[in-house]
Amino acid sequence: MSAGLVSVLFVAVALVAVGAFVATWKRDLMSALAGLPLMFGGAGVAFAGAARFSAAGDPKIFGQEVAALVAVAALALVALGVGIAGRGTSR
């Protein structure tokens, strides 16, 4: 059993698509916000996979760097969205 670049990209695509689905399908905007980290995670997986399978010579860590930055950005955006969320009833 092995996994190559195409497998990694398929998983990344699935995560992005599921995140987009969550963001568009949920009626509650706060629930839709939960799709954001999924999409960012998909992008990060694609970067990490490209870095993993394109490494020639010295280790290429650009993809890992972007993946870490994307995870932090996802957390920041969710925090901002939760903070900006309007008044409503707790569910």
């Binding site: 996994a3 497998s7 398929f10 990060g44 010579g57 280790p59 409503g88």
Partner: protein, 162 residues
């Protein structure tokens, strides 16, 4: 990638995508937060199986934070004014996006080579973050700062309005 890493990759992929689907369909903020946490665990596992251990650790912490924010009692329901037809169109568009990107992933390939990393490599990533790509790191730092300031301001305005 050896068999052990491949098994870890596919298990993590199932957990992350399954958790994402649960985010879409489970009711309640607590269950939704758990689903985000499960998805984040899967994504961290994906990073680990791709020899990106440091990114996996960062992602684990960040997705735990996202899950806490989504499941927190501070959660407020904000109904979207968008109608059902538009949401259904968005869901279909998400399926179309998946089809297009999956086709691109299937067609996309490039030369593979031996990966010589294999360790967490925090020092190397730190050098790239703070030396080579300092501008991007500063941009993300500014984003985090703006997000925290915005969240604090929004919370204060909401508390004052009560």
């Amino acid at each position: 990638m050896d068999s052990l890493h491949a098994i870890g990759f596919y298990v993590s992929a199932a957990i992350s995508v399954g958790g994402g689907l649960l985010v879409a369909f489970v009711p309640g903020r607590g269950a939704r937060g758990l689903a985000v946490a499960a998805s984040g665990l899967g994504i961290a596992g994906l990073y680990a199986s791709l020899s990106a251990d440091f990114a996996g650790l960062v992602a684990l912490g960040c997705y735990a934070g996202c899950a806490l924010l989504i499941a927190a009692p501070r959660y407020r329901v904000v109904d979207s004014p968008v109608g059902l037809a538009w949401r259904q169109a968005g869901a279909v568009a998400a399926a179309g996006l998946f089809a297009v990107l999956a086709y691109a992933a299937f067609r996309g390939d490039f030369v593979e080579a031996t990966y010589r990393g294999g360790e967490i490599g925090t020092a190397a990533i730190g050098r790239v973050l703070f030396a080579h790509d300092a501008l991007a790191t500063a941009a993300v730092g500014a984003l985090v700062f703006a997000a925290l300031v915005g969240a604090t301001a929004a919370w204060r305005v909401r508390e004052r309005g009560r």
